[in-house]
Symmetry: C2
DNA sequence: TATTGTTATACTCTATAACTATA
DNA sequence: TATAGTTATAGAGTATAACAATA
């Protein structure tokens, strides 16, 4: 049993096996799956991620969340405002210029649900790989991601 | 030597080790690197990819490229028009409704340069990983990407 | 009827610039 | 001077709908 050439694609494709292209495809598949899983809660992946981060860092300031997730200040503002408008988190001034973020009880319930959904989503993919490949995958992804440090703002 | 906790991030972050998040980060790093490497040619990664695909499938029709790369017809039109306007590829009717794409000689020169840039870019990352991890990474990415098949249009 | 290519359009994500207020 | 938050805006990337021409 070999064959397997051009079963679903009639074109020769030397781009498909490239590392960057494979990474992009795999990432898109997982993001789409997570987005679909979170759609029931009317939350996007980035919003779920913010809830988790605020949940484990109560009182953290908005800028720290943005720096941790690689989201610029200008784009954090509407994200946090949206979550606050839905009653999921509250902004309380600490500094005069900084806002401390904490989850409301409703936000914490949402956070627990998001974590549950993310756990199940990850488990679905991890079940497809053996432990050795999973460990190698994590190592490789960490090393690749480390190449893109810096970026002040 | 352990330490390593919160050196660059003052926040606890249980999202960072999640598979989907690591994939997204690694993919973004590689895409940004490739984008920077291709910027000298004033080509975006997707444009370079189209040049490669047309180069190895001369006379293929526009729709096949779109299907292979997961780009919708509506979004292929301006991409191909842009490359044609720059003299990198030519569109010749075959069907009356289908357009066969071929690289011009200038387009083929660009294609060779793109492949050279992509080779160097990949090599830079592959050098960071041993053969075992690279093989595991490719296997894992292929398996993950396979979970997101379908999508008719 | 299904496919190809095109245009228009909209929504998301991301980026910069400019502004206010504060440390 | 540097930082925090906000607003406005612009550019990609991606999505649907509608259309004309063709198979």
């Amino acid at each position: 049993m070999d064959a397997s050439l051009s079963l679903d694609s009639p074109l020769s494709d030397t781009v498909a096996p490239r590392l960057g292209y494979m990474l992009r495809r795999a990432s898109a598949v997982m993001m789409a799956g997570l987005g679909a899983a979170l759609a029931d809660m009317a939350l996007r992946p980035v919003e779920g991620t913010i809830l988790i981060l605020v949940g484990e860092n109560p009182g953290c300031i908005q800028s720290d969340i943005g720096r941790t997730l690689g989201i610029k200040r200008a784009n954090m503002a509407p994200l946090v405002a949206g979550l606050a408008a839905r009653g999921l988190l509250s902004k309380t001034p600490v500094d005069g210029r900084s806002l401390a973020l904490t989850l409301t009880s409703e936000g914490d319930a949402a956070r627990r649900q998001v974590e549950s959904i993310m756990d199940a989503h990850e488990a679905r993919f991890e079940a497809l790989l053996n432990e050795t490949d999973m460990a190698a995958l994590r190592d490789a992804l960490r090393i690749i991601a480390q190449q893109g440090e810096s970026a002040p703002d």
